[in-house]
């Protein structure tokens, strides 16, 4: 398995919100859930490659800003039209106030 990469400080993301994280030519989205857990997925919507970090987080759903496609950001599951391809998810941990994500 590849290394853990530091993405941001835990407090950089509000509760029930999302932040964009770019690393090594790729883009990811990092989420903080309403119950204060952190998650990460690929950063682009599987419908038209739009940055999900501009979208709205509600409970465990991220909604794409462009056409409101929905994904469960905890599992990556596509939840309804127009999106049908799931998002890849990545393991996340918080260590000493830093959010780390395991890529690869």
């Amino acid at each position: 398995m590849s290394d853990w990469v530091e993405a941001c400080a835990a407090e950089d993301i509000d509760e029930e919100d999302v932040m964009r994280f770019d690393h090594a030519g790729r883009t990811y989205a990092i989420y903080r859930s309403p119950d204060d857990e952190y998650f990460a997925t690929d950063g682009l919507c599987s419908h038209e490659k739009v940055h999900l970090a501009d979208g709205l987080v509600m409970d465990d759903i991220i909604e794409c800003p462009k056409h409101n496609g929905r994904f469960n950001y905890k599992t990556g599951d596509a939840r309804g039209a127009p999106v049908c391809v799931n998002l890849k998810t990545y393991p996340v941990k918080v260590d000493a106030g830093k959010v780390l994500i395991q890529l690869g």
Binding site: D54, G55, L56, P65, K66, H67, N68, A81, P82
Partner: protein
Amino acid sequence: MVIIGAGECGGRAALTLRDLGFEGPVTLVGDEPHLPYERPPLSKEAMTSEAPFIKAIASDELLAERSIRHIHSLRVVAIDRVAHIVSLSDGSSLAYDKLLLATGSVPRKLPMPGLGGRCVYLRTFNDALAIRAHLSAGNRVAIIGGGFIGLELAASARKLGAAVTVIEAQPRILMRGVPAEIAEIIHKAHEAESVRVLTGQGIASIADDGAEVRITLADGQQVVADLAVIGIGAVPVTTLAAEAGLAIDNGIAVDGHLRTEDPDIFAAGDCCSFPLAIYGGRRVRLEAWRNAQEQGALAARNMLGADEAHAAVPWFWSDQYGLTLQIAGLSDEGKSIVRRDLDDGAFILFHLAEDGRLVAASGIGPGNAVARDIRLAEMLIAKRARPAPEALGSQAVKLKSLLAA
């Protein structure tokens, strides 16, 4: 189950029937030769790409896997409501238990003599191919009508290097449904990209000799173009329903459950008019992609007996150059406007009814700058909320906090 019209709405309805576990036969009949596809890219990225592409809603494999029979290139020409049979243009017929009319809309024809082969409309992929063939650098394109499709096409044509003139009869572009402040931003964006935008200009006559179109405006000015694209609105496709004796009222008239007066026939998407619950049952017809999707899915649920009423807030977007506009709700329901400025020049106008209820929100900005707040506004509209105008106007107050209130 038989669905007439294999567009956004019909395609989504067919898939939803299967999602819900319906196991009987599902037949989707469409007169276009293609798989069900999305129309919005036709004036945008599909137009500017090397070769126009089809963004299919479902592949052949998916349709086969879900046992959806797709009959393409054939029209339904008659509905026999007593026998529960539809007839197709090749003489064949199909029996139905429940029928969905998802026949969409077609461009409104310009009622003028003189139109020829260089005067075209944009609705289908084949239309897009024909237009694309004329959009090369140096070509001249006249766009008749400053509505969304015309303006998006103007932006795409500029990207391909064509010289573009937009002719609008009304005093400003986007008269219908778009606040003046936002139309102004879009107007300026087009001028900054060297599009000639002529507003308040009626057309006196058109001469099309097959090579060139000569448009004479009411004030005598002439616009000469290699291609004229007419985008003056759309009309619902209702003939089939009317001939079957169903009520038409600016579209196939359905109730809040998308039922016609025939309990076995439903209509949804661009072709139907329906009562919009959040505005006290005001009857509307929407020409919007998400509505087609939502109504397709709702019709499918109700065809299976869900008895569910339409409750969604209308929502629409448009992309031109780097700008995206999004509108939730119907802004003409509003009596006053509160403006909220966001970063990068983006802003949202909140439309409030007399009693302070939020009835619509219109936003514009680069990329997806307004998306999140428009989505939250949509939820506030659905809740019939009366947020304090000062809170709406202040970027420091998060809209999400108003939703919880």
